[in-house]
């Protein structure tokens, strides 16, 4: 006998139909062992018939947690509306997947670097923890991070892993990646390697890559030449183009370009083509990130792969541990050289 419900069914409606108390309905639906199989079955059937779903707001309020995480993706206000670094997009994908595997929902939020971050998801009980993603001036954001830590916010940041950081960070081994790239370039006979990317403490990921680069040079008995480094603090194609123009205008000879990100490298490729320089014959070019486009540019880009799948899993795992009150530490992920044509090595596409 179909009874028309006014609005959505509640556990009381089910209790009434099943002839039990509402407490029992709640127990049965949550899988409590304190309910007889018979009763549980009856309740489940009725719940299905009524298309009943437990009200998360009520449940969360009572249990004091939301079983959801919030992902804060910071974007540079200068980049236009349609551009998000594809690397972050794939991180987003892997984080989403890692969340479902853990049974958590994921709130995604884009934040403007310039504004006040809207980081109150945990305070408002919308999420149990946060994942922070995105390049920005570390020195500027540091006090914000410290504040989050002070407030007891559960969060993990994707980024450089530094000594004495207030927060928990997961990042790839940028110095190692930088070293691998430069070693490879040196092995190919390149000696005048330009570096495009900020080398200051404001952008620790870029500067760690630069540090690895310098280490490799020194290990080979070469001196890093400041004239070969040009600052680029954001991963956008335009900055890659401009950086190469700066480099050319300096008139210093170079036979390779190590761009701190693929997007910068792609810009560099374009600028070199415009300048009539052939890659990799005259100039080797390498990037960092291994974004999907990297293998399609011409010539295909040699780069460093960051394992986004593992990264997503680690990030989610670390927030979850914090939520459970377990001790957590920052961690570095391996970086792997992916050799394609742009560096001039013989390896296949």
């Amino acid at each position: 006998m179909a009874t028309v419900m006014k609005g959505k069914a509640t556990s009381f409606d089910i209790a009434y139909k099943a002839g039990v108390s509402q407490s029992t309905v709640s127990r049965a639906l949550r899988g409590s062992s304190l309910v007889s199989d018979d009763t549980r079955h009856r309740i489940q059937t009725i719940a299905r018939e009524l298309n009943y779903k437990v009200d998360k707001n009520a449940s969360n309020l009572r249990r004091q947690h939301s079983v959801t995480l919030a992902l804060l993706l910071f974007e540079d206000p200068t980049t236009d509306d349609s551009l998000i670094n594809p690397f972050f997009l794939s991180m987003l994908g892997s984080i989403t997947r890692a969340c479902v595997r853990q049974g958590y929902d994921l709130l995604v939020s884009f934040q403007q670097l310039s504004n006040d971050w809207h980081a109150d998801y945990q305070d408002s009980h919308k999420a149990d923890g946060l994942i922070l993603l995105g390049y920005g001036d570390y020195l500027v954001s540091r006090s914000r991070l410290q504040k989050l830590v002070d407030q007891g916010t559960h969060f993990v940041r994707w980024g450089a892993v530094l000594e004495g950081q207030p927060d928990i960070s997961i990042g790839c081994d940028n110095a190692l990646g930088g070293r691998a790239i430069t070693d490879h370039l040196l092995a190919l006979g390149r000696r005048r390697i330009a570096f495009i990317g900020d080398s200051s403490a404001h952008f620790p990921e870029f500067s760690a890559r630069y540090r690895g680069h310098c280490e490799a040079l020194c290990a080979a008995g070469l001196e890093p030449d400041p004239a070969l480094q040009v600052d680029a603090s954001d991963s956008i194609e335009r900055l890659g183009i401009e950086s190469v123009q700066v480099l050319l205008s300096r008139g210093v000879p170079f036979d390779a370009i190590f761009a701190a990100s693929d997007l910068l490298a792609i810009g560099a490729l374009r600028a070199l083509a415009n300048a009539g320089l052939r890659v990799p014959e005259q100039v080797s070019v390498v990037g960092f990130d291994d974004i999907p486009t990297a293998s399609f540019v011409n010539p295909a880009l040699t780069t460093v792969m960051q394992d986004t799948k593992l990264a997503g899993e680690m990030l989610v795992d670390r927030v979850l541990r914090q939520i459970r009150g377990e001790p957590v530490e920052s961690a570095m992920l391996p970086a792997q050289l992916v050799i394609r044509r742009s560096c001039g090595a013989q390896a296949a596409p």
Copy 2:
């Protein structure tokens, strides 16, 4: 005088400190005009000091809405873990942005096409409405969509806009896009144009593109040749490669390939290169979507741009209207031809 709070502050804590009732705190913080400026100010100051944030679970429970939307992104279980069509990723980006503009939070969820969808965000009050994204067999999902409609779920789907659809859909004008592509190819002198993509009602977006293609042919006095159409029901590079192999094995001559998506086109490009066929000299190739990689492949891909920014805004707007109880209708967005080198036109990169 700093008082140590046990746990997070509630509106009662603020009321106590401000010497008013909790109701007044609630009113003041929600911006009610029923509170004197003086009182409001005092309350706001204390709230800030205590880092108070209203508990969304309590607030949502009471107000019976969550001010959040859920994005369900369907993925083919056959595609491997790391691959999400970049087109959907940029849709995700634009939807996220559109949500913040409207003051809504966004839950992102990846769904397996094969499994039961986990579409109960609205029933559980986690979200006020749903946005559905992702290609899949429309004939299979149709009954699910019907059920969602029957349950009064507020949702919008990105996809083909068809007569007699149970749901509200937003999609680009696929037939128009298909026509534009084929017209362009015909204008370039191509006569034997192969089409890669499913032409059945199972995949209405692809079949609408095919329909536009056929219309353009007929308008030019040409007969569509079934031997030039090969089914590919999913946007992945591998299927593009395989489709071209099928085409070649048929032994029918062709001078152009219209791939129903960029990912298919990229696969086609690779397969043609493997077969020693030059693009665009011997074969013109065009895609659909204008994903970021499209302009970087070699030769750069001529394609149809779908306006993801507008799409995201429309999608969000339409769910919001449903939530407000306003009447809504499906809508088609313009499709715009983007000419690059792969079709053989003279146009710039």
